[in-house]
Symmetry: C2
Subunit: 308 residues, 2 copies
């Protein structure tokens, strides 16, 4: 998501600094910025290093805080790591924003994981009850943003992204970005193991996510608000898998019962409204699901070797 | 709150272990347990020490996790300290609860600070939007409890306490427990400085808070739930101050405008329902406000020297 945003920003003639320590397993990949690498400043400092963060973003007008770790299961196995990467890092960024003389706007990447399980379509006014440490920490970090906004009059926008998929996504781990993982398996002509399958997800193509982030950076009425950034479509996992296998022309799938150990993460159908995002951001998702899958399969057909 | 609970538990013939490192400024005071000190085990280990916590509470049936720091303003000045004491400590306790062979029940001390500002009376189903790092962290730690309950089938109850006052409370700092602080100033015949004054608070006498905690420890329908533990009364700060000065027969007050620097913490009227707590816990507050003030003034008239 970060690198897609970087390309879009460079194409808009922005001066871009990337802060990414390329921690193993978190998805950072220099291949993602090959087209624009000469036009951006890249530093491998860590946002957990508050002093470096302050130095690097103190002159910025717009800060996209997309750093963090995004796996539910890793957060359960290593809660302290998640606290560090998702909570403490946000604190450092907020301190830097607060001290910056440029009155920058900060766009925070939240997640639909903040809300947990719901039984009807809900919007941003619905209470959050996350089902993993990751979800709790992402929610807490978002609330830090609003506390800082209240006390120090800084500009923040929170984008609670749904399941984003598409090119540039990491392909090494199954626990983060299930569609991309399944695309890898299909392209390698392997068997995709679907747990349950009937659960519906809201899959958003990367370009639509990027577009929403850019709009959050310029729309003034977005300031101080949070948004579910989602497609508004509900697609069962099993039908997504069928489409992947068909589009890749390779691989096969089997359906299994949801493993007991993993059940805690499963939230059933994801039923979120994107009405607020559409209204406040003047945004709407524009890539159909099958077109998104087609583009993603095409991208990795050529480039998978740079991601595995 | 911890020591009041300890006395009540000892009187019920429970075997009690106290874990309190007596960190300066957090309110721990050995004077508070003088009556029962021979009947309890006291350790000055720190709940941030996960291994010690595991060793100490691994055999318990009931764990009251009341450790933490409780000041909004300190959390803004030292967010990392608050993360350590309110988030990481809870993680350690939860890990210990999860590993315990006794299937213990854990009662978590939450706070009304989790909810932030509201404009009408609300209950536990209302979304939380805290106005300080402290409020965010207390909310996040509560959500950790529910994540652990979901994944590891442990028993948790969250008690979101309102402004609790009464004997045994720390009297050294103005930023935690405003009524007790005002009682100190009145007893020292000083001037109580009231900011605003019209804002209404829900003050709960310590014995009622303790009673609610004990009931949370035994009522099975409380498991997995959170409660606003509050009096249901709304009393303006200025009328509370008048009562304190009158009851102490000393001191005086002046009213000032709310300082700009502090405005971020102010949430206006606190309008919370205790209906759920009354229903699920079979509890109701029983001490009238003026009686609570009378008892508190009387206690510190004799004992203030042990608290300053």
């Amino acid at each position: 998501m970060g690198s897609s945003l970087v390309e879009a920003l460079v194409d808009l003639n922005a001066h871009v600094t990337i802060i990414d320590p390329l921690i193993e397993g978190l998805g950072g990949n220099l291949f993602n910025i090959r087209r624009v690498s000469e036009m951006v400043k890249v530093t491998h400092k860590d946002v957990r290093d508050a002093e470096a963060t302050h130095r690097l973003i103190g002159q910025s007008d717009l800060i996209f805080h997309f750093a963090g770790q995004g796996s539910h299961s890793r957060s359960m196995d290593s809660p302290e790591f998640d606290i560090d990467l998702n909570i403490r890092s946000t604190l450092g960024v907020l301190e830097a924003v607060r001290k910056a003389k440029t009155n920058p706007r900060m766009i925070y990447a939240g997640t639909r994981g903040q809300i947990g399980q719901v039984t009807r379509e809900v919007d941003e006014s619905y209470p959050e009850l996350p089902t993993s440490i990751y979800g709790v920490n992402k929610s807490a970090a978002e609330k830090y943003c609003f506390v800082y906004a209240r006390h120090y009059a800084i500009q923040v926008v929170s984008m609670r992204f749904t399941n984003v998929f598409g090119p540039r996504h990491q392909m090494k781990r199954p626990d983060q970005g299930v569609l991309n993982w399944f695309i890898r398996l299909a392209l390698e002509n392997k068997t995709l193991e679907v747990w349950g399958g009937k659960q519906k997800r809201d899959f958003l193509y990367i370009d639509d996510a990027t577009d929403a982030s850019l709009k959050a950076g310029i729309e003034n009425r977005a300031v101080g608000e949070c948004f579910y950034v989602c497609s508004g479509r509900r697609i069962s996992l099993i039908s997504a898998v069928r489409l992947i296998v068909k589009t890749a022309g390779a691989g096969r799938y089997i359906v299994k019962r949801y493993p007991e150990k993993e059940k805690g993460y499963e939230v059933g159908d994801v039923l979120l409204s994107n009405k607020k995002a559409r209204r406040y951001l003047g945004w709407r998702p524009s890539i159909e699901f099958d077109e998104g899958i087609r583009r993603t399969v095409q991208f990795y057909r050529t480039n998978l070797r740079f991601y595995v």
